[in-house]
Amino acid sequence: MSELSERIGEIIQVSTTRFLAQSDDLSVLPHFGSFIKTQSQGMNIYGLVFNVYETSIDPNRRAMAFGIERAELLRRQPQIAEFLKVEFEAVVIGFADAGYIRAYLPPFPPRIHSFVYPCDSREVIDLTEDLEFIRSVNALPGLPVEELAAASIRLAYAERGNDSAFLTRAGQEIAQLLKDEYEKARSIIRRISDGR
């Protein structure tokens, strides 16, 4: 996997449906709703970022307010950065098996300390060819489904060079996937149609 793009983090906790990774670099935050991947046992496992947070590295000590703008503060006291970390959580949405992208859960989760990379354009397009993954996302408790679906669709839309046919198809799929939850479908559709 020499052609892998620059890694953005390392996994520090896993379960079948989601994983938690720590960012390598304080200065770049992964985007909410972006598509990421990791490797495990020769298989690419894909996830969708649904939560990003920046905390103190010591669970017993919270960061304190200094009353100075962040950029200025870090310039004056660079050591503060040493005590901060960025973590992000992703929901597993599929995996690649023998070259095919499957939009359902892999047989095993990724492993801790695996590296995390952003998906390339081809992968984003393949993963969003149908929006089955939104069904899985919707089935998991505690996720901001409406925001997440809308954000990921808008990313995929941009990845396709703002192809409005895709947006229409996506809207129809949302309507279909969530046909029993009209209000939810409606709010996602409203969000994605904003970006046109």
């Binding site: 947006l167 229409t168 809207g171 129809q172 949302i174 309507a175 279909q176 046909k179 029993d180 009209y182 209000e183 479908a185 409606r186 559709i189 409203r190 149609s193 046109r196």
Partner: protein, 546 residues
């Protein structure tokens, strides 16, 4: 394969009795789908020919109705999922998907499986159902929204009494004229047309352009003979009718006058009095005698016959209106009925015109009296032909405008038209009724009508009347309610299934009818001159039918 199949939906529910239901494809604009269309459902083994009877808006859940999508994008993506359009179809005919030679569409006895594709009928489907245009299967229009001929099977058409209904201006006379033109041209039956409004003779004024359209005589030449009751009409300065209608007083029956009671102002007492005169002076004589009387003579009658003098005076005044009708004569020089029979024998079709005497009174009298006499002759001819085992007289189609005047429930049992309608085709005579007020026609007569051609109708009672005795009335009613002028629902004996058509453009009909009319016309002329030659050699003794 002429005409590409256009997929518009799939079957989602249905029953043979209640009809089929289909979900419209999302990419089809519902406003392009209108009731009355011919639809084909591709079943596994059969093709189902259906009529589109309704289109409805459906939603899969309540929420979307309570909180509808506002912007176009949302409306579009919810379409087909949360909202969809449902088509209600009435299956009419089926054919096998792999028909064998000679297979004809037959009435539908089953339903197609779930999700069978629903398509618009193609040109091939239409011609499979209605046949290819031809001399005895002429094109009279096309299914609405389609440019394919719908043909009328004239052979079946002539086997029953038929009707063209529609409110004034719906185009029924023009359509009737086209059908009659084809009947004349094809010689499937001899036509006798009582042309109250002067539209079936030489020409007819088009309300649209105000110009004169050519009518039967102009189009078909000597195959059509014109009789007129108004010999001196200035209308005929250029083109003379062939014959004058002359009706001797002696053949007018009380029943004829009763039919025109409204027009003559006859009261029940007057009718009673007529019977007294009839009994006293004899059938065939009383009317002429009575009409010729003056006041003095009338008072003698009062004494002689013990009738009420006021009733008699009133009756005299009423019946005196007959004296103003020039075609009613004491003595006639020319027997109109014999002339008609000659023309029929020669294979000519007859149009009766009324010129300036186009009052209901003259119309009712002429149509009723002539038809009654002809019917009697036809009954005799048919009966004797049957006894001898030979062919009967040529089938006759009698066309009457304002048919309800003759077939009102109060009079339908007595009039000759009621009799003809009821006895079906026993004596080779059938009717073509043209009427704008079908609710005025006796129910029993309506249910005898073989093929109904139904145009725009405004009145609910008329719509119910034209549906009398038909299956799938609910569907047909929807179709009738949606008709526009010059659109007709055709249903009945001569049609394999009901269909809504745009009537053919009259100009096109004229152009087509002229083609070949000359040739056929010439052939008729040739045969006629042969007949005349034969007659001059062998003598023309008996009236024979060929």
């Amino acid at each position: 394969m002429a005409g590409k199949t256009k997929h518009i939906g799939s079957i989602i529910a249905g029953s043979l009795l209640g009809g089929l239901e289909a979900k419209l494809d999302e990419d089809i604009n519902v406003e392009g789908i209108s009731v009355g269309r011919l639809i084909v459902v591709d079943g596994a083994l059969n093709k189902f020919f259906c009529l589109l009877k309704d289109v409805s808006l459906e939603a899969t859940n309540e929420d979307i109705l309570l909180n509808p999508p506002r912007d176009d994008f949302s409306k579009m993506v919810h379409a087909g999922v949360n909202t969809f359009y449902k088509l209600s179809l009435q299956p009419m005919l089926i054919t096998s998907q792999e028909p064998e030679a000679g297979d004809r569409p037959r009435p539908s006895t089953t339903v197609p499986p779930h999700f069978s594709p629903v398509c618009e009928a193609t040109a091939d489907d239409i011609s499979l159902i209605f046949g290819e245009p031809g001399l005895t299967n002429p094109e009279i229009g096309s299914p609405i929204f389609m440019d394919v001929p719908v043909c009328l099977n004239l052979e079946r058409f002539c086997k029953r009494s038929n009707a063209v209904f529609g409110k004034s201006g719906s185009g029924k006379s023009v359509l009737a004229r086209m059908i009659l033109g084809h009947l004349v041209k094809s010689d499937m039956a001899i036509n006798l047309i009582f042309d109250m409004h002067g539209e079936y003779g030489w020409s007819a004024t088009s309300e649209g352009s105000g110009l004169d359209d050519p009518s039967l005589r102009q189009l078909l030449g000597s195959k059509v003979a014109i009789f007129t009751v108004d010999a001196d009409s200035p209308l005929y300065r250029k083109i003379r009718p062939d014959y004058d209608v002359q009706i001797p007083c002696g053949i007018i029956e009380i029943a004829d006058l009763e039919l025109a009671a409204g027009e003559l102002g006859l009261t029940p007492a007057g009718i009673e009095t007529m019977y007294r005169l009839h009994d006293a002076w004899g059938e065939g004589k009383w009317l002429a005698k009575f009409l010729a009387m003056d006041a003095g003579e009338l008072s003698l009658v009062v004494e002689e016959l013990k009738v009420n003098d006021q009733a008699l005076g009133k009756l005299h005044r009423c019946l005196s209106r007959l004296k103003r009708l020039p075609f009613i004569k004491k003595e006639v020089a020319d027997d109109t009925v014999a002339r008609i029979m000659n023309e029929i024998r020669a294979g000519r079709h007859i149009v009766f015109q009324f010129g300036r005497f186009n009052s209901m009174l003259s119309y009712i009298l002429v149509a009723n009296i002539l038809t009654r006499r002809l019917h009697r002759l036809y009954v005799d001819k048919t009966d004797s032909a049957r006894a001898e085992g030979t062919e009967g007289p040529k089938p006759l189609v009698v066309t009457i405008e304002e048919a309800h005047k003759f077939l009102d429930p109060a009079v339908a049992r007595q009039t000759i038209f009621g009799t003809i309608a009821r006895e079906m085709r026993k004596y080779n005579m059938v009717l073509l009724l043209i009427d704008q007020r079908p609710s005025g026609i006796d129910d029993e007569i309506l249910s005898q009508v073989g093929t109904r051609i139904i145009g725009e109708l405004g009145d609910e009672r008329d719509i119910n009347a034209v549906l009398t005795g038909l299956p799938s009335q609910g569907t047909l009613k929807v179709l009738i309610n949606n008709l526009e002028p010059r659109q007709f629902l055709l249903t009945g004996f001569a049609l394999p299934m009901p269909v809504v058509i745009d009537a053919k453009e009259y100009g096109l009909f004229c152009d087509e009818l002229r083609v070949g009319a000359g040739v056929i016309g010439d052939e008729i002329e040739r045969r006629k001159s042969m007949d005349t030659l034969k007659a001059s050699v062998f003598g023309d003794d008996e009236i024979r039918f060929d």
